[in-house]
C-alpha cells in the first residue's frame, strides 16, 4: 500500500492558497516588558510561546543592550491586574461561533479564577499576538490549549508566589475562585493582592500540565454567552454601529460587470451636493457625504463609464471549470491527490461498477451584517475597525495598499455579525481607508446587500466525478474521485477503502471564490455520500448497513449509530410522499452523521425532521455546541435545497434577498441533536463539520421517496421535477 500524501493539514493549506489567503509570516514584536506594564498597569504577565521559549534563554533578541524584549513566537498572553482582573489577549475573533465564551471558560478552568473576572481582548493588531486568522475550525484545537497552558502556568506561578510569601510548601496550597488558600494555616490571599506592586513576567513553552477534561468544572459546562445582555438590548457595537467625531459616510461607485476598466468619470453633478467629496483614483471611484442617504444619492449622481471584457456565463459553468488552471499554485508537489492500493486491480475484482457526476453551484455566505469598516487617518497612522476573520492579514493588505509600514496600521475587530468563511479579505477596509484619506475625516463604509452579493467572494462551484467498484457483499473495492474547482477539503473518505485514487483539479474560476463554512468538504461529502447511497441500491443493501460494512473507524461507527438511534432509523418505511435518508462525515477531527425525513407534496420538498449526531472530542460548552450544530443544519438547508448565484457575462443576476432564497422559519425542520462527549479526546472545532452530511442525507431521502436521484446542489431551486435529476 502506498500513500502519496500524508499531511492532514495539506488540504487546508492548499485550500487557503487556492483562495488567496496565503498565510503571512509573523512580524517581530517590538513590545518590551515595561511597555506592557505601562499599558496594563502592574501585576503579572504570562506569555505562551508557540514552540520553544528562545529569546530569554539565548538572548537572541538582545539589541541596544536591552534584554527585555519579548520573544517573537508568542501566541497568546494573559495579564493579572492588581485588582484581580484578568485580561487575555488573542488574535482570534468572534463572529458568532461563541469562542469568546468557550475560550474564557478554558482560562477560568485552568487559572481557577471566576469566569466574570476574565476579559478577552480579541483581534486587535496593536494589542494581541499575531494570528493567521479565525477559520478552519482551529480556534478550539489550537488557541484553546494555548490559553489553557498560559492560564495553568499563571496559576502555578501564583501558588509559588504565595508559598514564598507564607514560607509554605506549594503542595499544601490550593487555588480556587481567584484565591489561594493554605490548607494547613487556613490563610488565604487573592490573585490581585499577590501581584500588587509587582511587574512579573513569565514565558512558557508547551509544558505546563493541564486539567484533564474529566475534571473540568467551568469548561465543559453551558456557561451563557459573554455579553448576552448587550446583544438582546441592541447595545453591542458592531463595526457598522461605530461612530467617530467628525465621521462621514462612504459609498463606492461600482462597475457594471466584473473585471471592468474605468474609461471616464463625470462627477460634476455629485460634487454639487453639499458636503460631498468624490474620490477618483485609478479604477476606484467613491464618494463621502454627511449621511448615508446623501452618500447613496451622490454615488448615483456620478457618471462612470466602464468597459468590461466578454466573460463566461452560468450556462457553460460545469464545462468551464474542468479546464486546467493556467496559473501555477504555490502548493509544492501540485494539487492534492492520494492513492492507496491499486484502483485497477480493485475494478478488476469488482462485481459491479458505477460512474456518476455531481455538481455544486456558486452560493453566497450572506452574513446578515454586510462588510463594514470605519477608517481614520491621524498623523500618517491608519486605524481601521472592520469585521474580518483575519485582522492581521487585513492590516498587511492596508500597509501594502497605502505603502506604509505595518506598524503604522492598526486593525480592530469588534465582535461581528457573522462571516461563515466569507470575511477573510480586506476590500471594505481598504475602500474606507482610501475614502478617509481623501475626505480628511474618519469614514464609515457599510456595503449594501447588493454589493455583498456581488463584490464579496463566493463558495466555489464544483464538478465531481466518482467511479467506484463494489463486491456483491457490499465491500467497496475501488474508488476514484475527482473534484474540479470546488476544493480539496474533505476529499478523503472516512471509509477504509483499500484501493482508491482521489484528486483535486484546480481551474481558473469564472467568479471570485473563496472560503465558506467547511470549505469544499460539504461538496465532497455530497458527492461521496450520495454515491454511497447509489452503490447501496446497486447491491441491494440497506443504506445504514452498507455504510457500516465499509466503516472501520470506531468514532465514525459510533456517530452513525447514535444518529440512527436518535432518529429511529429503520422504524418506518419510505413512501412516495415521505422519504428517509442518511449520510456521514468526517473532517478536521470531528465526526457527524445525519438522518433526514423529507415530505414530498407535488413539486414541494419539505425537510420535516433532522437528527444529527456529532462528536468533536471533549465538549467545552454543550449549549453553545448544540446551538452551532442546529445552526449548521438550518444554514445547510439553503445550499442543499435552493441557494444559487446566477451570473452572466460578468454580472450577478440575483443580487438581492428577494431573488436569492435563504432558509427561513417556514423551512425549519424538527431538529434533534445528539452530542457525543468524548472526554478522553482533545476538543476539536465544531463550526464546520456539522453542515457536511445534511445535503447528501436530503438527496438520499428524496430518492427513497420518489426514486429521483438529485446529484446537483442546490437540489430543488424550482421545486422537484424530473428534470432536476441528472441522468
Amino acid at each position: 500500500m502506498s500513500i502519496t500524501t500524508e499531511d492532514p493539514n495539506r488540504e487546508l493549506i492548499s485550500e487557503e492558497q487556492q483562495h488567496e489567503s496565503v498565510p503571512r509570516a509573523s512580524y517581530g514584536f517590538e513590545l518590551h516588558r515595561r511597555d506592557f506594564f505601562k499599558l496594563l498597569g502592574g501585576g503579572m504577565l504570562v506569555c505562551a510561546c508557540a514552540g520553544p521559549v528562545l529569546a530569554q534563554e539565548s538572548g537572541a533578541r538582545r539589541r541596544n543592550g536591552d534584554d527585555e524584549d519579548l520573544p517573537q513566537n508568542i501566541s497568546a498572553w494573559l495579564h493579572i491586574a492588581e485588582d484581580g482582573k484578568v485580561t487575555v489577549y488573542t488574535g482570534k475573533v468572534e463572529v458568532g461561533q461563541n469562542i469568546r465564551t468557550s475560550l474564557t471558560q478554558q482560562v477560568a478552568e485552568e487559572l481557577r479564577a471566576p469566569f466574570d473576572s476574565i476579559q478577552l481582548v480579541m483581534g486587535d493588531t496593536a494589542l494581541t499576538p499575531y494570528d493567521m486568522g479565525t477559520f478552519g475550525s482551529r480556534t478550539t484545537p489550537t488557541m484553546g490549549p494555548q490559553l489553557r497552558m498560559v492560564s495553568a502556568a499563571a496559576r502555578e506561578n501564583l501558588i509559588n508566589l504565595a508559598a514564598k510569601k507564607w514560607n509554605a510548601d506549594p503542595a499544601s496550597l490550593t487555588a480556587l475562585n481567584g484565591i489561594i488558600t493554605d490548607s494547613h494555616s487556613k490563610q488565604s490571599i487573592s490573585y490581585g493582592e499577590l501581584t500588587k506592586g509587582q511587574q512579573l513576567v513569565q514565558l512558557i513553552g508547551d509544558d505546563p500540565e493541564l486539567e484533564p477534561p474529566e475534571q473540568w468544572r467551568i469548561a465543559g459546562t453551558s456557561v451563557p454567552k459573554v455579553d448576552g445582555r448587550a446583544f438582546v438590548t441592541g447595545k453591542h457595537k458592531y463595526t457598522s454601529d461605530l461612530s467617530l467625531t467628525g465621521m462621514v459616510y462612504g459609498k463606492v461607485v461600482r462597475p457594471t460587470a466584473f473585471r471592468s476598466t474605468l474609461k471616464s468619470v463625470d462627477s460634476s453633478e455629485a460634487e454639487k451636493i453639499p458636503g460631498v467629496t468624490v474620490v477618483h483614483d485609478g479604477n476606484f471611484v467613491g464618494v463621502t457625504a454627511p449621511d448615508t442617504t446623501t452618500a447613496l444619492k451622490a454615488a448615483k449622481a456620478v457618471r462612470a463609464d466602464w468597459t468590461a471584457p466578454q466573460q463566461t456565463s452560468e450556462a457553460t459553468l460545469f464545462q468551464d471549470i474542468r479546464k486546467p488552471a493556467t496559473t501555477e499554485t504555490d502548493n509544492p508537489g501540485g494539487p492534492p491527490r492520494f492513492t492507496t492500493g491499486s484502483v485497477e486491480q480493485g475494478f478488476a475484482s469488482a462485481d459491479k461498477t458505477l460512474t456518476q457526476t455531481y455538481t455544486i453551484s456558486y452560493i453566497q455566505h450572506v452574513p446578515l451584517e454586510p462588510r463594514a469598516a470605519v477608517a481614520q487617518w491621524e498623523d500618517g497612522k491608519l486605524t481601521v475597525w472592520t469585521g474580518t476573520q483575519r485582522p492581521f492579514a487585513v492590516r498587511d493588505e492596508l500597509a501594502e495598499t497605502f505603502r506604509i509600514p505595518k506598524d503604522k496600521v492598526r486593525v480592530m475587530m469588534p465582535d461581528t455579525g457573522a462571516a461563515y468563511g466569507g470575511k477573510h479579505t480586506g476590500e471594505c477596509a481598504i475602500e474606507a481607508a482610501r475614502l478617509a484619506k481623501a475626505a480628511g475625516k474618519p469614514v464609515k463604509l457599510v456595503w449594501t446587500r447588493e454589493e455583498e452579493f456581488t463584490w464579496a467572494y463566493f463558495r466555489p462551484s464544483g464538478a465531481i466525478d466518482v467511479k467506484s467498484g463494489v463486491s456483491k457483499d457490499g465491500k467497496i473495492v475501488a474508488w476514484e474521485f475527482h473534484n474540479y474547482n470546488s476544493g480539496p477539503s474533505g476529499l478523503r473518505p472516512v471509509y477504509a477503502f483499500a484501493n482508491q485514487h482521489i484528486e483535486f483539479h484546480p481551474t481558473d474560476p469564472p467568479l471570485r471564490q473563496g472560503s465558506y463554512r467547511g470549505l469544499a468538504a460539504p461538496a465532497n461529502h455530497f458527492a461521496r455520500e450520495v454515491h454511497m447511497d447509489e452503490l447501496a441500491q446497486l447491491v441491494n443493501i440497506e443504506p445504514f448497513e452498507f455504510r457500516m460494512k465499509n466503516l472501520t473507524d470506531p468514532r465514525a461507527r459510533a456517530v452513525l449509530q447514535a444518529a440512527a438511534k436518535t432518529f429511529g432509523w429503520g422504524e418506518q418505511k419510505s413512501s412516495p410522499t415521505r422519504g428517509f435518508g442518511l449520510a456521514i462525515g468526517f473532517e478536521k477531527g470531528s465526526y457527524v452523521a445525519t438522518c433526514v425525513e423529507v415530505q414530498i407534496s407535488g413539486r414541494d420538498v419539505q425537510v420535516k425532521r433532522v437528527a444529527e449526531a456529532f462528536e468533536c472530542g471533549a465538549v467545552v460548552n454543550p449549549n453553545g455546541l448544540q446551538n452551532q450544530v442546529a445552526g449548521a443544519i438550518m444554514m445547510g438547508l439553503g445550499g442543499a435545497l435552493f441557494e444559487i448565484i446566477h451570473f452572466d457575462n460578468g454580472k450577478i443576476l440575483n443580487p438581492h434577498l428577494a431573488e436569492y432564497r435563504v432558509p427561513r422559519f417556514s423551512d425549519m425542520p424538527r431538529i434533534d441533536v445528539a452530542i457525543l462527549d468524548r472526554k478522553d479526546i482533545a476538543p476539536a472545532g465544531a463550526g464546520e463539520t456539522p453542515i457536511m452530511a445534511l445535503a447528501p442525507a436530503i438527496s438520499n431521502a428524496i430518492f427513497a421517496a420518489t426514486g429521483i436521484r438529485l446529484r446537483s446542489l442546490p437540489m430543488v431551486p424550482d421545486g422537484l421535477q424530473k428534470a432536476n435529476a441528472a441522468s
Partner: protein, 154 residues
C-alpha cells in the same frame, strides 16, 4: 426637512433630507444603532421597529409616514434596567449566535405577542418568516417566543 419624531417616548427633532428612511435617522442621526441594516429592501427584518405597536421595516419607512406615530426601537424595551419579557426569553434560551438579527427578531416578537399573546407555532412561523437569521438559531427563537408568551400569561 426639520420634523419631530416620537421615539421610545421621547421627542426628537431632526433635520434630514426628506427622502431619508427611518432606519438611517435612527442609526446615523440619533445614535440608536440597535436597529440594524441587513438588506435595505424589507426582506430580512433586521431593521424591524414598532410603529404604534406594529412591526415595521424601518429601512422602508418614509419620515412623512412615521411622523406622528409612536416609534419603538430595541433601545426602548428595557424599563428601569429591567429587560422586556421577550428580551429575557431570548437571553435565557440563547436564541442568537452572532446576534445581528436579534434586535429585529425581538421587535417582531414583541409586535406579535401584543396582538396575539398566545400564538400557535404556526402563527409564530407566519409572523416571523420575514426575519432572517443566517446563523440558523430558528428553533431557539421559536422556543424564546413560547417562553415569552407563557411568561406574559403569568
Amino acid at each position: 426637512m426639520p420634523l419631530t419624531l416620537l421615539i421610545n417616548g421621547t421627542e426628537h427633532k431632526v433635520d434630514v433630507p426628506a427622502d431619508t428612511k427611518l432606519l438611517y435617522v435612527l442609526r446615523d442621526n440619533l445614535g440608536l444603532t440597535g436597529t440594524k441594516y441587513g438588506c435595505g429592501e424589507g426582506m430580512c427584518g433586521a431593521c424591524t421597529v414598532l410603529l404604534d405597536g406594529k412591526p415595521a421595516r424601518s429601512c422602508q419607512a418614509s419620515l412623512s409616514v412615521v411622523a406622528g406615530k409612536k416609534i419603538t426601537t430595541i433601545e426602548g424595551l428595557e424599563q428601569n434596567g429591567r429587560l422586556h419579557p421577550v428580551q429575557e426569553a431570548f437571553l435565557k434560551t440563547e436564541a442568537f449566535q452572532c446576534a445581528y438579527c436579534a434586535s429585529g427578531m425581538i421587535m417582531a416578537v414583541v409586535g406579535l405577542l401584543s396582538k396575539n399573546p398566545q400564538p400557535s407555532d404556526e402563527q409564530i412561523i407566519n409572523a416571523m418568516d420575514g426575519n432572517v437569521c443566517r446563523c440558523g438559531t430558528h428553533p431557539r427563537i421559536i422556543e424564546a417566543v413560547r417562553q415569552a408568551a407563557s411568561a406574559k400569561k403569568i
